[in-house]
């Protein structure tokens, strides 16, 4: 914590500066959108203000929050399964070369299947209103997590492994003291991109499955009603949710799990 305080001043200024420029970029985009929207009738291209009004209406009706809760639940369930299975499989495959060679083509094959095709298979096998989206998300995200866990395991510092062997550390301790902490830092970028993919696949699955509930269902209903502002509103919700997840859940989680990085972050590493 002391370190954080010492470098806080410098890092703080840079962070504020970044925030300001970020807001400038966002503001310019919104302004351009508004200008373009004014050239077209509102039912074709809504202005940002109309989308905001639609968001407020959806929130008032209460449909927004149930939909968000349901889709979030499905996304996190599928994502969780992918992280658990992909992480463990990647770790084990990284430790055992024959298994790595056996699994690599399988995972590449799964990765090659487009999510849309996964959804169709899932619809044939599972319940469109619950397990189908979860299955699709899990299968779509799994290869990303697997690949990162595998590479992370292989990239472990040999010197540390040799050190642990010399101190006669049992295999269990090697995993908890060396492989897992190392993996965690390696896995984090994959978690972020995996979560983004999970969200997109969730919407796609709900939309294609014709789920009765969820944000995909809301998006589908808005399309059927030719409510363009509604479509935009649902898209905005997805983007906001993704940003919230990354910045309010994943990043704080990382700070908590990796206190040893805390004082490096401000240092521009």
């Amino acid at each position: 914590m002391r370190e954080l305080g010492r470098r806080g001043g410098d890092g703080g200024v840079r962070r504020v500066e970044g925030l300001v420029w970020g807001l400038v970029g966002l503001g310019v985009c919104l302004a351009l959108w508004h200008l373009v929207a004014l050239q077209y009738p509102p039912w074709a291209v809504p202005t940002p203000l109309e989308v905001a009004a639609e968001l407020v209406r959806l929130a008032r009706e209460g449909a927004l929050f149930t939909a968000v809760a349901i889709t979030t639940g499905r996304t996190l369930a599928g994502f969780g399964i992918a992280v658990l299975l992909g992480g463990i499989a990647g770790l084990v495959a990284g430790l055992l070369p024959p298994l790595r060679q056996a699994l690599a083509p399988v995972v590449t094959a799964i990765q090659g299947v487009p999510p849309v095709a996964l959804i169709i298979v899932a619809l044939l096998w599972f319940d469109a209103n619950s397990s189908a989206p979860v299955f699709t998300i899990a299968l779509a995200v799994l290869p990303i997590i697997f690949a990162a866990a595998l590479e992370g395991t292989r990239a472990v510092d040999r010197g540390l492994i040799e050190m642990a062997a010399i101190f006669r550390a049992p295999r269990r301790l090697m995993v908890t003291e060396i492989y897992l902490p190392h993996l965690l830092s390696y896995l984090f970028p994959a978690l972020v991109s995996g979560l983004g993919l999970a969200w997109k696949v969730a919407l796609l699955a709900e939309l294609m499955a014709g789920s009765r509930m969820g944000m995909g269902a809301g998006l589908g209903a808005a399309r059927v009603n030719l409510n363009v502002a509604g479509v935009f509103a649902w898209i905005a919700v997805v983007v906001l949710l993704l940003l919230a997840m990354e910045n309010l859940v994943l990043r704080p989680l990382r700070r908590r799990l990796e206190p040893w990085r805390r004082s490096q972050e401000g240092g521009g590493r």
Binding site: F167, A169, E177, P259
Partner: protein, 237 residues
Amino acid sequence: MLTMTGVGHDYGSVRALVGVDLQLEPGRIIAIVGQSGCGKTTLLHIAAGLLAPTRGRVENRFRRPAYVFQEPRLLPWRTAWQNIAFGLKAQGAPPATQRRVAETLIERLGLAGAADKFPHELSGGMRQRVALGRALAIDPDLLLLDEPFGALDPGLRSGMQRLLLDLLAERRLAALFVTHDLAEAVRMGDELIALSPAPGRVIARVVLGRTPATDADVYVHQTVAAIWPQISAAYPD
């Protein structure tokens, strides 16, 4: 006691070490000096039991060897005291014992206030002291040191050498100290063994007469000057 008789080692068809005899008694320090690639690390690995020699015989009566590497090799995600306790944790010592032993060593190694810092927050010298603490924490009877101060600034080195000599004396530890620096070998060892360039064979063996009363610097200079011709003959460059 560690006894090596005619020890040699090959990596495949490459000879790394040839006919090394060595006898290390409890509480004594043997400094092994030679240039990089002369088989010093191989010799240490054989002494640690990590490597079975291709030829010769090794008899090791020491029960707990501990190792210090040239790089600190600390876990970046563990604090200084947790790194010191690593060997104890590997042996399954209870957390209270780990903490207590680590705290005593932190005090002794002059790391007060650094116990809860992570390795990247420490200076190079402090990191190497943590690595030394990790080796001492398992209460070894033999310390194997592979150029432990090789990566440190010259200014830090003499302090670390002094600290290590004191610690070895306090705990009556035997040590094999590998270095490429002849002056350091003379300063640290009770006995000095010089190895030739690869494949490493013994080219000089000197029993050093350092006592607490001798002026360390003068002694080191005179001894280095006396041994130098013998060793430099083996190294054409």
